[in-house]
């Protein structure tokens, strides 16, 4: 297993290089650059724009730019954001706690709801409740997240006054105080609910199908024949086996933790990585765009690796050599 892990980790290096090259080229091929967006003639001077392009090397051939970027990147220099004039790594680190909080909360919500819905639907397939659960899940999957976010804000923030509609914390609270943390949770609740409740579909339906499939297997029949209690069969024997395929999702969830929810974060003005990524693409802030992309690529690859390793642990039929 150790050997397998090392082999996989080594295999990631050329993959990441390839990804970095493709993403860098694509980013640079986007029309415009940080100085080409909205021109405000009262504030911008054509000479300054030209000077900055030259200074930042935007006029060099793309392979020269790539080489310059990748050598610095490997030495841990992620570049300076052109928009914020701060190191990209600092800007990203500023956002990560927010994104993690939102992601963890929404994942917990997804897990809890999906677990109970899936268990119930799997145990009583083809009943009305099963269909209601399926109906809910597919509607949630189909409704675009911005619609869900706006509807949620309208009802829960503006009509019922239950949750704040923007930001990550109430204005003027000092970090470290009790009120500060309560306010953080209060602010994260609504976006997390929107995110969490809208993405239960895949978990629920996978769990349901596995439970149905497992309940027809021989070991279940044996257990029933032995007279094991029905609830014990489902909650112990079947559930344990049905969890295995869900491990695949864990790998992806690792990426969700850092990728942030681009649209939901934007509508809730929740300053996480997703919102930052969107803004950086719009302003062609190459250093930030590239750093976030590379961060996400690394997490995706790691996530896959962890999922594969977990398979080996939870399912004795799979051996990793």
């Amino acid at each position: 297993m150790l050997q397998y892990t090392i082999r996989r980790l080594l295999g990631m290096i050329p993959m990441l290089l390839l990804i970095s090259f493709v993403v860098f080229t694509l980013a640079k091929m986007m029309p415009g650059d940080p100085f080409g967006g909205e021109i405000d003639p009262t504030r911008t001077d054509p000479k300054y724009i030209e000077e900055m392009r030259e200074k930042l090397g935007y006029n060099d051939p793309i392979y020269v730019q790539y080489w310059r970027w990748i050598t610095k990147f490997l030495q841990g220099d992620f570049g300076i954001s052109t928009t914020h004039k701060m190191p990209a790594s600092e800007i990203i680190m500023e956002r990560i706690p927010n994104t993690l909080l939102l992601a963890v909360t929404s994942l917990v919500i997804t897990y809890v709801f999906a677990f109970f819905m899936g268990m119930y639907a799997g145990r009583k397939p083809y009943t009305i409740s099963d269909h209601v659960i399926a109906g809910y899940n597919y509607i949630a999957l189909a409704v675009p997240s911005f619609v869900a976010a706006i509807v949620a804000i309208y009802f829960f923030s503006f009509k019922l006054n239950l949750f704040p509609y923007s930001g990550s914390v109430a204005i003027g609270l000092q970090p470290g105080t009790w009120e500060y943390y309560v306010s953080r949770l209060h602010h994260v609740a609504l976006p997390a609910l929107v995110l969490g409740l809208m993405s239960t579909a895949s978990y629920t339906q996978f769990l349901r199908n596995d439970i149905i499939e497992n309940s027809r297997k021989d070991y279940v029949r044996t257990a029933r024949a032995k007279g094991v209690k029905e609830s014990k069969i489902y909650n112990k024997h079947i559930l344990r086996n049905s969890m295995i395929p869900l491990v695949t999702f864990l790998g992806f969830d690792l990426v969700t933790l850092v990728s942030g929810a681009v649209i939901t974060e934007t509508i809730f003005t929740y300053p996480g990585l997703g919102q930052l990524f969107l803004q950086s693409v719009a302003t062609r802030d190459y250093a930030v765009v590239m750093s976030i992309t590379m961060l996400l690529s690394i997490f995706t690859l790691l996530g896959n690796l962890i999922a594969d390793l977990l398979y080996g642990i939870v399912d004795p039929r799979i051996r990793l050599e």
Binding site: G32, P87, I128, I139, F158, S168, I171, I267, T269, P271
Partner: protein, 572 residues
């Protein structure tokens, strides 16, 4: 049997969602309609905190010398103050200092007010301003504002590293400073950096590190009526009253600048969480239904036009080369404008909140020509057809579209950038106007073009943009050289008009120091442009602001809603 329930259940669920959405709408429409009756005059009183909303996150600089975005400059208005300010007629008037101009019009002597305090308690002296000017001219300075000092004698030398100070600045005493410019220009003052920097506060920081320093980004010091209390980047900035403000203690206890998503603006206004925000014409209907919110408008300083291509830009020589003949005929250009029903477009796509214009100097400027002096190109498709015919553009092959005088097919490829939903309709309407008079016009590339790509295409003189939609926000200086001079970078039509250039030059000549002469010169150029029609002026944008009735004392002008914020007060 059981399976039948499934579609029924989902149907009921979907239906209930729709019903929920509908009932939500109904609730909104049933709120009583209300016109701006909020200008109730109550006595100004102290106290209270108001929230000013912006729909984009500021980049986080609290010194104008380093920021480039419009949002940042709005936020800075609460806490910075300038040597001069711009009044409602967009004239530059004294603020922190008064000035006298020398005989030869090259040297300005500034006299600073005494006793003006920085937020950290230091007193403002001309050294602070000199320091700011020298930061801008420093070779390591990484902001975009060098053009605000380059006209001072010796600034270029400092930028190139040949000098360690600007030789054209002479400090006489702590409140008096002389600045000498390298040339006589009417707008030397307008192009002079007006914001002093807190020299003591920035002490010990190298110029190249200033823009990332905490002194600029986290605990800034300014001269304005409010000082920064706390902030969360990308979310909010909390300002508190600065008691020693030089124009007297501000009435409000504080101001919160909050970043919100435009989609929730109307809801937040209704709930009273926002007191002031700039809105788009599309939001007008919804916002004007909120009883405790008034909508205030002001003629802004931006306008839209249709650019026409006359050539390309020789990037090396920095010159426009007129080598594209399509729009050479003046009658054709006139016909193109007569064909467009601009009033109808404004009503259909901008909720009526724009003013049709025939010049490229917004009417708020004191130098703008009286509309009566200009040809108003009122919508007249018959006249447009007649003009086309006179110019030799007639339909020879009977396909319903005109051919050019040499008999070749005549087409126009018109480009427009992507954005809110109304852009598509507006672009199609302009194209249809031209098709109606028999010109085969098409949308360039077949769809609206992503904004960054569109700008790049304009920069590179992309051949598919034969005609293109454009807008300019011109700020407080009306000088048209940078936008409409023949060889200006942003003359995207690339026309070459020496007569026009001479007229533009006259507006900033030595004689133009006399206001009457300057206005006359501006009118002459506008008449010339109005006749030549190098670009088709469409309309001036009217700026709209939603204001909660509890907030009083707001004075809106063409540039901003944040004038004299120390006079704002809350009426309950």
């Amino acid at each position: 049997m059981k399976k039948r329930w499934f579609p029924l259940v989902s149907f009921v669920m979907i239906l209930s969602l729709f019903l929920a959405a509908c009932s939500g709408n109904k609730q909104q429409t049933s709120t009583p309609k209300n016109d701006s009756n909020g200008e109730a005059t109550s006595e100004p009183k102290a106290g209270g905190v108001v929230t000013y909303a912006v729909d984009q996150a500021p980049e986080g600089f609290f010194d104008p010398a380093f920021s480039g975005s419009f949002i940042d400059s709005e936020v800075q208005k609460f806490m910075t103050e300038d040597i001069y300010k711009v009044d409602d007629n967009l004239k530059y008037v004294p603020n922190l200092a008064t000035w006298e101009i020398s005989e030869d019009k090259k040297t300005y002597t500034f006299k600073l007010k005494q006793g003006v305090k920085w937020h950290n308690g230091e007193e403002l002296t001309v050294e602070d301003w000199k320091y700011a000017l020298e930061v801008l001219a420093h070779p390591d300075y990484d902001g975009p504002r060098f053009n605000y000092v380059e006209n001072i004698v010796g600034a270029k030398e400092m930028k190139e590293g040949k000098a360690d100070h600007i030789s054209g600045i002479e400090v006489i005493d702590p409140y008096t400073m002389k600045i000498t410019f390298n040339e006589v220009r009417i707008n030397n003052l307008e192009n002079l950096w007006p914001t002093p920097m807190p020299r003591k506060h920035y002490e010990g920081i190298a110029v190249k590190d200033l823009s990332k320093s905490d002194q600029v980004r986290k605990n800034p010091v300014g001269l304005g009526p409010f000082k920064v209390k706390s902030m969360k980047p990308g979310e909010y900035i909390e300002f508190e009253r600065f008691d020693d403000y030089w124009q007297g203690k501000p009435l409000l206890d504080g101001v919160v600048v909050k970043v919100i998503d435009p989609s929730v603006a109307a809801g937040a206004l209704e709930k009273g969480e926002i007191d002031l925000l700039a809105i788009r014409p599309a939001d007008l209907e919804q916002v004007s239904k909120i009883p405790h919110v008034r909508v205030e408008e002001a003629n802004g300083v931006s306008y839209s036009y249709v650019g026409l291509r006359f050539g390309h830009r020789d990037q090396k020589a920095m010159k426009s080369v007129a080598d594209f003949e399509k729009f050479k005929d003046q009658n054709l250009r006139h016909a193109l404008l007569y064909a467009i029903n601009r009033d109808a477009l404004v009503n259909a796509y901008m909720a009526g909140k724009a003013k049709v214009t025939n010049t490229v100097i917004p009417s708020t400027f004191w130098v703008a020509a009286d509309p009566k002096e200009l040809n108003d190109y009122k919508y007249d498709p018959e006249k447009a057809k007649k003009l086309l015919k006179e110019a030799g553009y007639v339909d020879k092959d009977g396909d319903g579209f005109v051919e050019d005088p040499s008999g070749k097919k005549f087409t126009i490829s018109f480009g427009h950038y992507a954005g809110p939903a109304t852009f598509e309709g507006r672009a199609q309407a302009i194209i249809q106007s031209w098709r109606d008079i028999g010109i085969d016009a098409k949308l360039a590339t077949g769809s609206l073009i992503e904004f960054n790509l569109y700008n790049e295409m304009k920069d590179n003189d992309d051949p598919s943009l034969e005609a293109f939609f454009g807008s300019w926000y011109v700020g407080a200086d009306p000088d048209p050289t940078g936008l409409w001079g023949s060889h200006a970078e942003w003359n995207y039509g690339r026309y070459v008009d020496e007569e026009g250039d001479a007229l533009i030059k006259e507006t900033s000549s030595e004689k133009a120091f006399d206001d009457a002469y300057r206005k006359e010169a501006f009118v002459k150029w506008q008449k010339h442009f109005n006749e030549k029609l190098w670009a088709l002026p469409l309309w001036e944008v009217i700026d709209l602001y939603a204001v909660n009735n509890r907030l009083q004392g707001v004075h809106i002008n063409a540039l901003t809603s944040l004038n004299d914020v120390h006079k704002w007060y809350v009426a309950e």
